[in-house]
């Protein structure tokens, strides 16, 4: 008999199809998520090891930069266009000034170490450049002054000293050979220790994030994110703007959760109904300064006391009295991403006893605003009693306050540098500065639950936020459809 094609195989296939197709169709399955946040993360190409590339005898930081620029021709020019270099925002028109103003460390003050002008020898240790001394601003235009190592060298091999120059004893060759894409260590050197020590300033950025626990920060802890995963960087332009150094911020220039978490909805519709009025951070960052304490109060008026014992967390003769707090609930305000007000040098102090260094913009009537967590830093800092504006002292250096403990002299020295007249009478006034909380995102299981905000023991001051009462009973704000 001729070997025929075994048609029964077709039958078998048919039977299996008839059985399997309906089973697969009816099998219970979890809905697949199409919004995978992982797909939004930048890729990390393997970095070329520079050990065998970087040669030469480096005497100064500028020597290193020249070597870098041989290959990375535009790097310095690119960096010099960023605020890491300029320390100054673009000009803003603000309603309380006739002329446009710029904001930055270069010309404005905060309520921590107050101001950099005349204090360059200390403050510039966090500037991405070399040799910035008072009066040498023009020299700064030189691309060779860009400090590549601050962000690219192994932090164990490199450190910065006075005027932003490499610290004494740094092996520049070893540091230069260690360069790589910036890590949390590089960013952390300045951003974790801002304000004069670990965790002083932000409350959501401190040295615990070098080796974070997943319960402290799910991105950096559990998933080992680097800063640049969210602060996506192109041509040295880092995404993300600091609200304290700006007046308004274009959302395109800001980092947001939605960068990766696109259209990710919560399972519970009741949670989703919060999204028009509550920022992600509000629930997902239940506490500030989870591991390391942060400064919440700084009283400069107590500085300079003779014979009082120094203690890092309560009193330092050069800085005054402090209060630190740890693992505490943030302050909540309506926030649309901008400042309503930013103190500009020379502004009058607040009439009601509180001067705002910055005041986040937004209100219950602002549909673009959401309730957002902030660290509120309260300070008592010097002001000119006659001129009614805040004063910036010279603190560091030969005749600075930290040497002589003489406020009067510190203000007199500063006057020609800041251009702000000093009447000879000073006092201390209360200032508020708000720092948005956006790091230290805890795992979803730790997010706030209903009772954290609603009910008798909730953390929200509904009346202060503009609600008639707890919205769980009084209803949400009316937002335009």
């Amino acid at each position: 008999m001729k070997k025929r094609f075994p048609f029964w195989i077709l039958g078998l296939v048919g039977i299996l199809l008839i059985v399997l197709v309906p089973i697969l169709y009816f099998m219970p399955r979890a809905a697949a998520s199409s919004n995978d946040p992982w797909s939004k993360l930048p890729e990390h190409p393997v970095h070329v090891d520079h050990k065998d590339i970087v040669k030469g005898d480096f005497k100064t930081g500028q020597d290193v930069t020249r070597a870098c620029l041989v290959c990375h021709k535009d790097a310095a020019e690119d960096l010099m266009m960023t605020t890491h270099w300029t320390w100054e925002s673009k000009p803003f028109d603000v309603p309380w000034r006739d002329q446009p103003v710029t904001i930055g460390k270069i010309n404005q003050i905060n309520n921590f170490c107050i101001g950099t002008q005349g204090n360059e020898n200390k403050c510039m240790s966090c500037h991405a450049g070399y040799g910035w001394e008072e009066g040498k601003k023009t020299e700064q235009a030189n691309p060779e002054n860009v400090d590549c190592l601050a962000c690219h060298a192994d932090t164990g091999l490199y450190g910065k000293g006075t005027y932003g120059n490499p610290a004494d004893g740094v092996d520049l060759l070893a540091a230069a050979q260690s360069v790589r894409a910036p890590t949390r260590e590089n960013c952390g050197k300045c951003h974790f220790d801002g304000g004069g020590g670990n965790g002083v300033k932000h409350g959501d950025l401190d040295e615990s994030l070098y080796f974070p626990d997943e319960n402290e920060d799910v991105h950096m802890g559990k998933l080992n994110f680097q800063c640049t995963d969210c602060h996506v960087t192109t041509n040295h332009q880092v995404l993300g703007r600091m609200i304290a150094d700006n007046y308004t911020i274009d959302p395109k220039e800001q980092v947001s959760c939605e960068q990766c978490h696109v259209n990710q909805k919560h399972e519970d519709e009741r949670i989703n109904s919060h999204l028009t009025s509550v920022a992600c951070q509000t629930c997902h960052i239940p506490a500030l300064a989870v591991q390391d304490p942060t400064k919440v109060y700084w009283d400069w008026s107590q500085a300079g006391q003779e014979g009082r014992e120094d203690d890092h967390f309560t009193y330092l003769k050069i800085k005054g009295e402090f209060v630190y707090d740890k693992n505490f609930a943030p302050t909540y305000l309506w926030f649309n991403g901008n400042n309503e007000y930013r103190y500009i040098l020379g502004d009058k102090i607040g009439a009601d006893g509180v001067t705002y260094i910055n005041k986040p913009a937004g209100s219950i009537g602002d549909p673009t605003a959401k309730i957002f967590p902030f660290k509120l830093h309260i300070a008592k800092q010097p002001y000119d009693v006659v001129n009614q504006y805040l004063l910036q002292p010279i603190t560091s250096g030969k005749d600075g306050f930290w040497t002589n403990f003489n406020w009067d002299q510190a203000f007199k020295l500063a006057a020609p540098i800041t251009g702000l007249n000093y009447s000879g009478q000073y006092g201390f006034t209360t200032t508020y500065m708000y720092w948005p909380t956006t790091h230290m995102v805890q795992p979803a299981t730790q997010a706030l639950q209903c009772d954290a905000c609603h009910g008798e023991n909730g953390r929200m001051d509904w009346k202060a936020l503009g609600y008639p009462g707890d919205p769980i009973e009084w209803g949400a704000r009316a937002t335009p459809k």
Partner: protein, 910 residues
């Protein structure tokens, strides 16, 4: 800005700066401990009146709540409509059938608190009314039995009389009743403040009651508010709290709606704080709800609490989702005539009516708020049974079908059998009382008690709290629905004696007298119980575990004058309704219930007590809405367990329930067939080897056309898979790797394919007339069948040809015809029918019900499945009896079969 404004602003600024300077440090260092009491925003001021209607400020007497609140509210109405006040008084009716005289704590004996409210005429006085108030100080709000006698007179009108349990008290020193003078102690009106004040002084109130100062108890509640002070000389009203008209000043009016804290003061552990870690005082009857059930109402996450819980880190959920979602006790347990909570429709209404706007006006409600509160269906509280089920239940707010639509199959069937709580309160994370053994007594007058859900000393912080899974018992709701619902079972053992009024629990005083002398164990008690001769009794020794011990104590009780002392035991189910978890944290694994009996949530045994005193088996208390249909069993080590029997509640739980004889019979049929064909096959093989190899003459016949082959193999695949998936559903504990839910889905899909295939095949056979092949011809059927049977037991071994030729038009021999007729015409339709009915219990439960429901259908379905499995074994074996062993199978694949060539004529195959 004028000068005055300016100075005001300056002053304010100065104050602000000052305040900030001083305040910030302390404010940031620690949060304020207690919220500052804010005066009631809406309640008007009022005068405090005494019982005569005079202002207390003038009379200096105790406050009368009935008079004071009665200035605006109808306090008489409120008290008449308040089971919190009544506590069983209005139902008080002694009978000789039971020692319980009412359905409330006034008259119903609670073996946990143990003391018995003596009835009139009882020989031995245990609790008089006065002492009952003292003992229950923390649970009595006043009014009812606190100011009214059992006959309905004012207590103050009773004459002091040592022989009247309403006007006497037991003197603990002498053991003799003494007269009690109500006019001196005063009585206690219903205390509005204990629930309507922000921070009532319950400690002071309880102290006053326990001291017998009933008249001052309500005044004591106000101590600490600034309105009244208490010294050793009595209560003194504070002039400064009143205005010139004698009315309370605004800021002292702290009247409010009852908060969770108010309810918690008497009922159990409620923890409104989010910051302060929750710590539970284990099995502490000062928190009765928590002690008896482990229920805790707190918004806090369990792993944020201060409890030493097993696997605490994983318990990332709140103690009670409703507390987390900011529901208050009164949201569910509302005043029944509160217009804000009025139920949509009550009673009989025309079908078209969905809403009735006729409700009480808010003013009328405030004047006469019904203080009977909406309540659920609890087993342990039987007061005002007519109000059971007045509360909104889970399903009043939640739609179970929608809530479970995305994962739970057979939602309606589940909801018709299981109460929401059974899955959503799957585990208690606080300890609860397991047993109280009052057949013995400690030197401090306590029972030997055991807490469940904790390892080691329940009150030590070092003890590991393991929590416990509640027992599921069948509850009959007021609407007649029966549902499995979670309970804690508390077992108590105690001595009973005969009073002329009927049996009574032995008084604590008598029990102590039987065991103790001068506060230590009597010598002969010690020598009988002290097994290790240490001179003291530890927990393992303090139990009656022999007849000798029982006789000894019985003898000592009899010596006190107690007639016929004997041990009884009872099991009281306590309903668990709070501590709800949301879906993610509820039972949502099918195999929690659908697994073998000992592990299944619906039938797992629960320990009642570590021992039964001298083997006395406890009995479930009667008169509850719970059917304890299971068995109480005493294990070899003496421990007592409750073994649920879901079958007794007409429940059939796939994977857990099974009828043993069916499985045995089915397995026997299956393995018997296997054994039979193996034996037959071996014999055939042996004989075949012995026989000379003669190639029988065969010819190729086109035996099966393509459709037949198709439907046969499709049916083969489907039936084998159905048997296998059915087996998994039947015994999921053996096939742990398969998802129960997935297998159920596959089984249903396969069944649908089977039915369609069978119908098409029937159509084919009918339309082609081939159905007749299956129908045994009556004429000569038995003769032919006997011939064929003879062949199978004889000729086949000798290599004889088949007695009936297999042709395309007559492929089956008589036995085959009979078998296939049975399989295809009887078993298959039955299996399809029972399967479809089981599948249909979700949508058409009534139809399944006509046939006895799942408890009948499911075992029947299993039985037929076993028979199918046995048939397949034989069927597959029979295919090997063709010309060559694999010939018939090959034919079913290709259609062509080599069959023995019989001599007579036949149509040739094309």
């Amino acid at each position: 800005m004028n000068k005055r404004q300016l100075s005001f602003v300056l002053l304010l600024t100065g104050l602000l700066i000052l305040g900030l300077g001083f305040g910030i440090q302390s404010a940031l260092a620690k949060r304020s401990e207690t919220p500052i009491a804010a005066a009631s925003p809406i309640h008007p001021t009022f005068a405090l009146l005494d019982a005569n209607g005079e202002q207390v400020l003038k009379s200096g007497k105790n406050i009368s709540t009935m008079q004071t609140c009665g200035q605006c509210h109808d306090t008489a109405y409120i008290q008449q409509h308040a089971f919190h006040s009544d506590l069983g008084l209005s139902a008080y009716a002694p009978s000789d059938k039971t020692w319980d005289a009412s359905n409330g704590i006034f008259g119903q004996w609670d073996p946990l608190t143990y003391r018995y409210l003596s009835e009139k005429g009882d020989q031995r006085l245990d609790l008089s009314t006065a002492e009952w108030l003292m003992v229950n100080a923390n649970r009595v709000v006043g009014g009812g039995p606190a100011d009214t006698s059992r006959e309905g007179q004012a207590l103050t009108s009773l004459k002091s009389d040592a022989n009247n349990p309403e006007a006497s008290i037991l003197n603990a020193e002498t053991g003799q009743p003494e007269a009690w003078d109500w006019s001196q102690s005063g009585t206690m009106e219903m205390n509005c403040f204990v629930c309507h004040l922000q921070d009532p002084n319950n400690d002071q109130r309880v102290k006053a009651i326990q001291a017998g100062d009933f008249g001052g108890a309500n005044t004591a509640t106000l101590v600490g508010t600034g309105i009244v002070t208490h010294t050793s000389k009595g209560y003194f009203w504070n002039d400064a709290a009143f205005d010139e008209n004698g009315n309370l000043k605004d800021k002292y009016v702290l009247i409010q709606d009852p908060t969770n804290a108010n309810c918690a003061a008497c009922h159990g552990e409620v923890h409104p704080e989010t910051q302060e870690p929750l710590v539970v005082s284990a099995c502490d009857l000062n928190y009765p709800q928590t002690a008896t059930t482990g229920q805790v109402i707190a918004a806090q996450k369990i792993n944020a609490s201060g409890m030493n819980l097993a696997d605490k880190q994983t318990l990332n959920r709140s103690w009670d989702i409703h507390a987390e979602r900011q529901l208050k006790c009164t949201d569910c347990h509302f005043a029944l005539n509160n217009p804000a909570h009025a139920l949509e429709l009550q009673g009989n209404n025309p079908d078209h009516l969905v809403y009735d706007p006729r409700k009480l006006d808010i003013g009328e409600y405030i004047q006469r708020p019904d203080h009977n509160f909406a309540r659920g269906q609890s087993a342990q509280f039987n007061i005002d049974p007519e109000l059971k089920g007045t509360m909104r239940r889970c399903e009043s707010c939640h739609d179970a079908n929608k809530a479970h639509a995305d994962w739970l199959p057979y939602v309606d069937k589940h909801m018709a059998a299981v109460a929401c709580e059974s899955c959503h309160i799957s585990k208690m994370y606080a300890p609860a009382i397991q047993s109280y053994d009052w057949t013995v007594v400690t030197p401090s007058g306590q029972a030997a008690s055991v807490c469940r859900g904790v390892e080691g000393d329940p009150n030590s912080i070092n003890s590991l709290v393991t929590g416990f899974e509640p027992a599921l018992l069948n509850r009959t709701n007021v609407d007649g629905k029966q549902l499995l619902a979670p309970y804690n079972l508390i077992t108590t053992y105690f001595w009973v004696y005969d009073d002329p009024n009927g049996p009574r629990p032995v008084r604590l005083a008598d029990l102590e007298a039987a065991y103790l002398e001068n506060g230590v164990y009597a010598a002969d008690v010690l020598s009988a119980f002290d097994a290790d001769k240490s001179g003291a009794l530890d927990a393992s020794e303090l139990k009656i575990d022999s007849q000798a011990k029982q006789d000894l104590i019985a003898g000592r009780l009899a010596a006190l004058g107690l007639k016929n002392p004997r041990i009884e035991g009872q099991v009281q189910p306590y309903s668990i309704n709070h501590g709800v978890a949301r879906g993610d944290d509820a039972v949502n694994d099918c195999k929690s219930c659908h697994t073998n009996q000992q592990a299944s949530r619906v039938s797992q045994p629960i320990e009642l007590s570590a021992y039964a005193p001298n083997g006395v088996t406890p009995k479930f208390v009667g008169g509850t809405n719970v059917q304890a249909s299971g068995e109480i069993v005493i294990h070899e080590d003496g421990s007592v367990y409750y073994q649920p029997k879901p079958a007794n509640d007409k429940l059939y739980v796939f994977g857990s329930s099974r009828v043993n004889w069916i499985d045995w019979f089915g397995a026997l049929a299956f393995f018997g067939s296997l054994l039979g064909v193996l034996g037959h096959g071996t014999l055939r093989y042996v004989n075949f080897m012995r026989r000379p190899k003669a190639q029988a003459e065969t010819k190729a016949v086109y035996m099966y056309d393509s459709y037949r082959r198709f439907w046969h193999w499709l049916q083969t695949v489907v039936i084998v898979m159905l048997l296998f998936t059915g087996l998994i559903i039947h015994r999921p504990d053996i096939f742990g790797i398969f998802s129960f839910r997935g297998v159920v889905t596959i089984h249903n899909v396969l069944a649908a394919i089977l039915v369609v295939n069978a119908l098409l095949s029937v159509f084919y056979h009918l339309s082609t007339g081939r159905m007749q092949e299956y129908i045994p011809r009556p004429y000569g059927f038995f003769d032919d069948a006997i011939v064929q049977a003879k062949y199978y037991i004889g000729g086949i071994f000798k290599g004889e040809p088949h007695p009936f030729e297999k042709t395309p038009n007559s492929r089956m021999n008589p036995i085959q015809k009979f078998t296939y007729f049975g399989i295809l015409m009887v078993l298959l339709p039955l299996q399809i029918l029972t399967g479809a009915l089981m599948w249909g219990v979700q949508r058409w439960p009534a139809i399944a019900g006509w046939f006895g429901g799942l408890p009948v259908l499911a075992p029947f379905h299993s039985l037929v499945a076993w028979l199918f499995a046995a048939f397949i074994v034989v069927h597959v074996y029979m295919t090997t009896t063709g010309a060559t062993p694999l010939e018939a199978i090959r034919a079913m694949v290709t259609g062509w079969e080599e069959v023995e060539a019989h001599s007579h004529e036949e149509p040739s195959a094309s």
